[in-house]
């Protein structure tokens, strides 16, 4: 996959995630019904439409602008208006393009809304861990001495100690695995890499002429670090963070698979895969495993492609 294609895939997923409400929702984008016009009821959620669904409204409304898929991610077979009498999961058909899960929820709706959660987690983890890692790494590289010794030690341990064990213990200790909690926990396991990169870069740069020049000009320590060193040392961190988006997606799916992910009924890609595993008893429910699997793979590969491209652009050897 070329970097350009990778960027396109990422952009597509971001667009799908941002527009998830417009793509799949239980209420329409705009509707005129019972003599009233509702704009964006899918966000305003007016009380009068509380128990309505899009197929139901379409029959009664004067006009209606519906979403692409007429189901929300939490709508079960009780409200999707299905006429089937057999038990879900339902295979892909004209109603449910990517099939439905074991309580009749639309897989497409869950996939695009899940993209939102998964991307949010991945981005949150990468940003938070990079921030933490860059700060600590820059400090250690700049200060040297005891600070550096302590941090190097912590770095070694944190990157060697098995992540998944740590994750399980921490998640079990939390009362409920909220989105923020999952982001925090995952970020705690990924900070060593940006820290290591930052420290190495700062160590390399701090002896260079421009730093000496800045110092000679009387710039303060903090100013040199923040204005001169860190910006010049960021390239490897940016490259590694791009790759990290992909691994955060994989890690989130592994956590959800163990039942330690974001609380249900919120959809995330890992949760969708976990459900696929649960539904293995239904022979041939391939759509439950295939589509989230493809989604994860496409996103991870795209981030790797973009990472590679950035690596070449910045001429960074990892």
């Amino acid at each position: 996959m070329s970097a350009r294609l990778g960027a396109a895939v990422i952009a597509l997923w971001v667009a799908l995630a941002l527009g998830a409400d417009l793509l799949a929702s239980d209420l329409p984008i705009a509707v005129r019904v019972d003599g009233r016009t509702y704009l964006a009821p899918l966000w305003t959620r007016p009380a009068a439409l509380q128990a309505e669904t899009q197929p139901g409204l379409r029959r009664r409304a004067e006009w209606m602008i519906g979403t692409l898929v007429e189901f929300g991610p939490r709508q079960t077979l009780a409200t999707t208006g299905t006429t089937r009498t057999d038990a879900p999961p339902f295979a892909p058909d004209a109603r449910h393009w990517l099939g439905s899960d074991d309580i009749g929820r639309d897989v497409f709706a869950r996939l695009v809304h899940g993209a939102r959660v998964t991307l949010l987690i991945a981005l949150g983890v990468v940003l938070l861990s990079s921030l933490l890692g860059v700060t600590l790494g820059a400090l250690a590289g700049w200060k040297g001495g005891v600070v550096d010794l302590l941090l190097s030690r912590a770095l070694e341990i944190a990157s060697t100690f098995p992540t998944i064990f740590f994750l399980i213990v921490v998640v079990a200790a939390l009362r409920t695995p909220s989105l923020t909690a999952v982001v925090l926990v995952l970020a705690l396991t990924r900070w060593p890499e940006p820290a290591r990169l930052m420290r190495a870069e700062v160590l390399r740069l701090k002896g260079l002429d421009f730093v000496l020049a800045a110092r000679a000009l009387g710039a303060s320590e903090a100013r040199i670090l923040v204005r001169h060193l860190v910006p010049n040392a960021l390239a490897p961190v940016i490259v590694s963070s791009t790759f990290a988006v992909g691994s955060a997606v994989l890690l989130e799916s592994a956590l959800s698979f163990l039942g330690l992910g974001v609380a249900p009924p919120t959809a995330s890609w890992g949760e969708l895969l976990q459900q696929a595993h649960r539904s293995l008893v239904t022979p041939g429910a391939w759509w439950l495993a295939l589509f989230p699997g493809l989604a994860i793979a496409s996103l991870v590969l795209a981030t790797q492609a973009v990472g590679k491209g950035l690596e070449r652009r910045f001429d960074v050897r990892r």
Binding site: I168, A172, A173, A254, L273, A276, H277, A289
Partner: protein
Amino acid sequence: MGRLIATRLGLMVPTFVVITAITFAVAHLAPGDPLQLADEEQASAAVVEAARRELGLERPLGQRYLTWLGRLARLDLGASVVDRAPVTERVREALPRTVLVSGLALLVSVLASVFVGAQLAARHERRWARVVSAALTLASGVPSFWVAVMALLLLATPRGVELFPLQGLSSGPGAGVLDLAWHLVLPVLCLAWPTTAMLTRFVRDGVSKSLEQDYVRAALARGLDARRVLWRHALPNALVPVVTVIGLHLPHVVAGSVVIERVFGVSGMGLLAFEAIGTRDYPVVMGVAAVMAAVTLASMLVTDVLSAFIDPRLRLPGSAP
């Protein structure tokens, strides 16, 4: 060299204490406690209180940690809260399984990645090399547990081909080595999968880099056999970082992959830890944590010593590796 080892060993003890103390604190902050699960439907407050006292659950956390540490010094990891089996026994049962599965997986990854990686670097212009490279990229993008579940579905159930067993490492008491090997195939391959994808690219990039070095070009210019140059000159240099990666990967060999152990029903260290946390069986959680901390530190020491052995510059104290 001796000084390096001595310093490292001296640092190990406080590091071990820090790791286990953090794990101890986090694990004990988890809501729920073991006595309330062990007797799911029938215990009364009286018995829970009595048992809590017996386990010392009402004492302050720090004091409990010190007690634990004191016992550990006498190599006593305590007994499981759930079934009263000694934790050392539990670890002794689980550790060999994990080491077998994860160790074999690591071995497979290393052998496969060194061989394939070197070949890819040497013949990067061939079509098959591009296909393999693309496949490796693809492999690193797919969650390994997804692969594991699919492999089971396709290769171990009557719905696919019934080639491999579904669960565990043995068909029953008295099963032989062949039976064990047969059980090991899928878990080892699924566990080796992501590591192989990563290491192969690592080796490939390393070897291609050293193939561009002057000494390699010189060797080739002198008319040495290209194959010999690849294996005897270019590869060894590219392997130095690989050794570090393997060293840092050792703790994972011991931790096992919880996910893979869960999918394949291998009751190793990962699953032991996972289930112990689920039942709030603190002595077992801490036993696993202690073993893992020890292995982490030992592998760091080994990596350091090996790196210093390979690269003499690192033997100087105070220099940054």
